[in-house]
Subunit: 225 residues, 2 copies
C-alpha cells in the first residue's frame, strides 16, 4: 500500500472515530436542551471578543469551551467577563475534535445554561470539516483580512449557519466591500446569514443576539426541555 | 494497532517522504544560487500585499510560488505587479508540501531570479512544521490580529528567521503593543528579527528589502554562483 493511501486510510478511521464521539456529544446537548455553536475563524478575527460581548448580554445563560494551541489566555478573558469557561490546549493540533469536547464537557457545569459556545483553534481551514456535535457552525471573519476570504477558503462558508463579519469599525480605513463578501458567501451557501458587526463599537451586535435567542428557543422547543 | 497509532505512523511516513522532496528542492535552490523564503501567516495578514510591494522593488529578480486552498487570485495579483508567479491550488489541503513545490518549480522559469518566495496557504498553525527546502521561514502577522499571537501560536515563531508585523498604519485605531509582540517573539526565538511595517503606507519596507539583499548576497556567496 502506498504511503499516501496508508495516510488517507488512517485519516478515514480517525474521522469515523470522531463521528461516534460527535454523536455522543449531540445526545448530551439534546438531553440538556442546549443550543451549541462552533466558532471558526482565523487567529485574531475576534472570536474571543465576540464571546466577551455575548457574555455581557447572556451572562450565566451561556458557557464556553475554549480551544487554543497554547495558553489559557482566552478562557481567562471569558471568565473575567463573568461566564463559565474551560480551556482545551491542543498542544499543536490545528483543530478541536469531538473527543476533546467530550472531555471538556465533563469539566463544565452546565446547570442553567441555554447556549454553549465552542471557540475552535484560530484556523480558517482545518476545523471546517470536523463535526463536534454542534447545531451550528459560525464563520467569523474580519474586515482587515480582506473581502475575498469566502472565495479563497470556501469549505467553511459552505457549511456555516452564520457568517459574522467583525471589525466594521475599521471600514473607514480599509478597502473592503461588505457587498462582495456577502455575495461570495451567498454563492457558496444560500442559507447562511451574514451579520456585519463590531465588537469594539457594538454596532450590529443586536442582530447576533436575536439570532441566538431564536435558535435557543427553537432548540428548546425541539428537545422538549 | 490503535487507530491513533496507525494515524501517527502514517503521519511519520508522510513526513519522511516530504523530507526527501525538501532535500531535492534544496539541491535545486543551491544549484541556482537562489535565496528561498517560505511566507507563513493567517488569511488576510498581508502576505500577498507584501509580495506586491516587494515585486515593485525587486522586479524580475524575484519569482513567486503561490499556495491557496482555492482560486488563482493571488498569482494574478503578483503577475499584475510584473513578476513571474505560479499558483498551487491545494483543493482543501491546509499547507503546502515539498512535492507540491517540486511540481511548481518545473513550471517556473527561474532565469535571472535571485530570490524565490513561497506564499503558503493562509494558516498560522499547519504550515509551520513542514520543510519545503527553503532557507528562511517568514512569519507574517498583522496588527488587527492582536499582539498575543506569538504566545498563542508558538510553533511558527520558534522557527522563523523574520517576523513581519504588517499593517502598522492601523495602530492608531487599535490596542496593539508592538513591544509585547516583539518581547514574546524574543522569548521564543532570540535570533528572529522583528520587522514592523505597513504595505499600505510603505513605512518600514526598507528594512525588509535590506534583509532580503543581505540574505541574497550571502546565499550567492555560499553557492559560489
Amino acid at each position: 500500500m502506498s504511503q499516501g493511501r496508508k495516510a488517507s486510510r488512517a485519516a478515514i478511521s480517525v474521522r469515523a472515530k470522531n463521528a461516534v464521539s460527535a454523536e455522543e456529544n449531540r445526545r448530551i446537548f439534546r438531553e440538556k436542551g442546549l443550543f451549541v455553536l462552533n466558532l471558526i475563524g482565523s487567529p485574531g478575527c475576534g472570536k474571543t471578543s465576540l464571546l466577551e460581548r455575548t457574555a455581557r448580554h447572556f451572562g450565566s445563560r451561556m458557557a464556553v469551551i475554549e480551544g487554543d494551541v497554547k495558553t489559557a489566555l482566552d478562557a481567562q478573558r471569558i471568565e473575567a467577563a463573568g461566564v463559565r469557561a474551560v480551556q482545551i490546549e491542543t498542544g499543536g493540533a490545528c483543530h478541536l475534535d469531538a473527543a476533546m469536547i467530550a472531555g471538556a464537557l465533563s469539566r463544565l457545569d452546565l446547570g442553567g445554561v441555554d447556549v454553549l459556545f465552542i471557540e475552535n483553534v484560530g484556523n480558517l481551514v482545518c476545523p471546517a470539516g470536523l463535526d463536534l456535535g454542534e447545531h451550528a457552525k459560525v464563520a467569523v471573519i474580519s474586515t482587515p483580512e480582506g473581502d475575498e476570504k469566502p472565495a479563497k477558503y470556501p469549505a467553511l462558508f459552505v457549511r456555516a449557519d452564520v457568517v459574522v463579519v467583525n471589525k466594521t469599525d475599521l471600514l473607514p480605513y480599509l478597502e473592503y466591500s461588505l457587498e462582495r463578501a456577502a455575495a461570495d458567501c451567498g454563492k457558496l451557501n444560500r442559507k447562511a446569514r451574514v451579520l456585519p458587526l463590531s465588537c469594539k463599537s457594538g454596532e450590529g451586535l443586536q442582530a447576533w443576539f436575536d439570532y441566538l435567542e431564536e435558535r435557543i428557543s427553537s432548540t428548546r422547543a425541539k428537545s422538549g426541555t
